[in-house]
């Protein structure tokens, strides 16, 4: 019977990253106090390449707000003749040189990261890639450089999922679920619908996305394979089924259902299709999210009178309130990948911003200065939080570092609204 319920549906899968897709562009609105100067020299190559690898690397580093890459036009004309001394005089602390050569299967790529002051090679890399993967390889190189110089893992070679809304007025809107590289390139439409799509969540292997849709008479939850477009309706029927979140091991979904009349938190075991109910309270319980160890679920509940964050253990389901002194409105929690922080939508007299609660020390910091901020999602390295905010043309995306010191505005060209960003996992 369960199998019957878990019926597979094939949906139209739009593969092309065609010109119909608008590309996200990222602008730094606030950078680190002292971004690190670095020169990423254009990669040597025998001929023209489909991608300017060095430009992709430099853009990634710059977007992080922690690096100040040198403009190519400011670099010395005779690069091969200059030594470390000259880069030092130009104020550079680090230097990246690399090369790309065509091979049988695509391209061989190599690069070297040099500490100009010490005159030392910090990292040398050699690998091969295909023409289609040149950009991805460039993002991986940026990740390596970022980790070598900051000590933190990079998250450039990752993807983000988000919802776009085109058109206005009842029945004239088009909603899409899209996936793009973390720099906004290669956007791909996974789902397109005249009905609302919301709450996308990545599977931990990066192959599937769970989401809710109002395409049926009421909200249902679907799981869709990114590569094949195949999708499965996993929570349908009476009441509202929504807010899905994959467990860290990918075997379960936390979600909210109101099959018994009231919104409650459930865990769906994907292999059996069985639902396990975690909450039982006449209040609103929604927006569940997993702790990184998969042992606990944080969620929003207004059982105290206003929305606050609660946490429940899977083994002893007695919810415990965890926001107390952070105002009257705390909702849509997300754990940082290391489990030390919880990002929430924090509301008060000044609208809604993204707040970061320290779970160990009880610290609380508002990290955004925009208006009507929603849907925080941590990068898999824990460095940045991407979220949606209200801009001049409707909802758009923005990002902030966890300490609030680096901020980005992410624009989508083409008059579409963008919302509910979900940062995907590290790619293997």
């Amino acid at each position: 019977m369960k199998r019957k319920m878990l019926r597979w549906l094939l949906v139209l899968f739009l593969v092309s990253a065609s010109n119909a897709h608008a590309v996200l562009t990222v602008k730094i609105t606030r950078g680190a106090d002292k971004p690190l100067p670095i020169a990423v020299v254009p990669f040597r190559s025998g001929g023209p390449l489909p991608e300017d690898m060095a430009a992709v690397v430099a853009a990634d580093l710059e977007r992080s707000g922690r690096f100040a890459p040198m403009a190519v036009e400011d670099m010395p004309a005779t690069l091969s003749e200059i030594g470390f001394q000259d880069w030092r005089l130009l104020g550079m602390e680090n230097l990246v040189v690399g090369g790309v050569t065509p091979s049988v299967n695509g391209y061989d790529v190599e690069f070297t990261l040099v500490d100009v002051y010490k005159g030392q090679k910090l990292y040398a890399y050699k690998g091969s890639t295909s023409a289609n993967n040149l950009r991805f390889t460039a993002h991986q190189i940026a990740d390596i450089i970022y980790e070598q110089l900051t000590g933190e893992k990079g998250a450039f070679a990752t993807r983000i999922a988000y919802i776009t809304v085109r058109g206005s007025g009842a029945g004239r809107k088009t909603y899409t679920l899209q996936v793009a590289d973390s720099d906004g390139y290669n956007p791909r439409t996974l789902v397109q619908s005249p009905a609302e799509i919301f709450s996308p969540s990545w599977s931990p292997d990066g192959r599937k996305i769970a989401y809710a849709s109002l395409e049926a008479r009421t909200s249902a939850v679907y799981v869709q394979d990114i590569a094949t477009g195949q999708r499965q309706a996993v929570a349908t029927g009476r009441g509202i089924n929504s807010a899905p979140e994959f467990s860290p091991d990918g075997s379960k979904l936390a979600l909210r259902r109101s099959v018994d009349g009231n919104p409650e938190i459930y865990v769906l075991h994907l292999s059996t299709g069985l639902f396990q109910r975690l909450t039982n309270d006449p209040a609103i319980d929604t927006e569940p999210t997993w702790s990184p160890d998969g042992q606990r679920i944080a969620f929003t509940s207004d059982r105290s009178g206003s929305p606050q964050i609660y946490e429940v253990s899977l083994v002893s389901p007695s919810p415990r309130r965890i926001t107390f002194n952070q105002g009257d409105y705390n909702a849509r929690p997300r754990y940082s990948p290391d489990g030390r922080y919880l990002a929430v939508v924090n509301g008060g007299g000044n609208g809604y911003q993204i707040g970061v609660l320290g779970l160990n020390d009880g610290s609380f910091r508002i990290v955004t200065d925009t208006y009507q901020d929603e849907s925080p999602s941590f990068a898999p390295n824990g460095g940045m939080i991407i979220y949606s905010t209200l801009g001049a043309g409707g909802t758009e995306l923005a990002a902030s570092s966890v300490d609030g010191r680096v901020r980005q505005r992410i624009d989508l060209q083409g008059g579409e609204e963008v919302r509910e960003p979900a940062w995907g996992p590290f790619r293997k």
């Binding site: 009441g239 929604t286 929003t300 909702a331 849509r332 009507q372 209200l390």
Partner: protein, 181 residues
């Protein structure tokens, strides 16, 4: 297209009668949704005309003589809420009584209750808040004689605002339950 425009116009006139002319309806014009699938423009026009006649142009409250009818204009079928609240205010009792009486008198009839919120705060919480608003209205209708299985409650959360604006005037229009006959 023409019918829709007409319906939109009628809905606007009807709501102006209820709420007075104080607020600027400019933004609303573009966005009032057609939620009156069951009625033709002519029927709506006829019934809305009745509203204007019985209340006069200065009418500012729902007239007693309308409460016996099934919801016909937006003013007769939309219940508005305070921020983050699902408490049904006393002033909307006539709308609920009218629906309950209609359902009690017509056991085969059904209505849909669509809960909505303003855009502030988190999307999924708002979906639940809209759901709770429609449930609050449903409970009152059942207490007044309607049967639970005559009422289909749902929520669109903040997804389908009646007014696309980003100020309190718009928000007040968007925190609502629509009774769809």
């Amino acid at each position: 297209m023409h019918n829709r425009a007409l319906q939109v116009l009628i809905l606007i006139i009807a709501s102006s009668l209820i709420f007075g002319c104080a607020r600027n309806r400019k933004e609303t014009t573009a966005s009032v949704e057609d939620k009156s699938e069951g009625l033709t423009a002519e029927e709506l026009a006829a019934k809305t005309q009745g509203t204007a006649d019985s209340q006069g142009l200065e009418g500012s409250a729902v007239g007693e003589d309308l409460t016996g009818q099934a919801g016909v204009s937006s003013s007769d079928r939309i219940i508005y809420f305070d921020y983050d609240s699902s408490t049904v205010k006393e002033e909307y009792r006539p709308i609920i009584e009218a629906a309950a009486n209609y359902l009690a008198a017509n056991p085969s009839a059904t209505v849909t209750l669509e809960g909505h919120t303003d855009e502030r705060g988190s999307r999924e919480y708002n979906l639940a808040l809209g759901e709770r608003r429609s449930q609050a209205v449903q409970r009152q209708m059942v207490l007044l004689g309607a049967s639970t299985n005559q009422i289909h409650g749902t929520s669109y959360g903040e997804e389908r605002p009646a007014d696309p604006g980003h100020d309190e005037t718009a928000y007040a229009q968007n925190r609502r339950v629509e009774v769809i006959y």
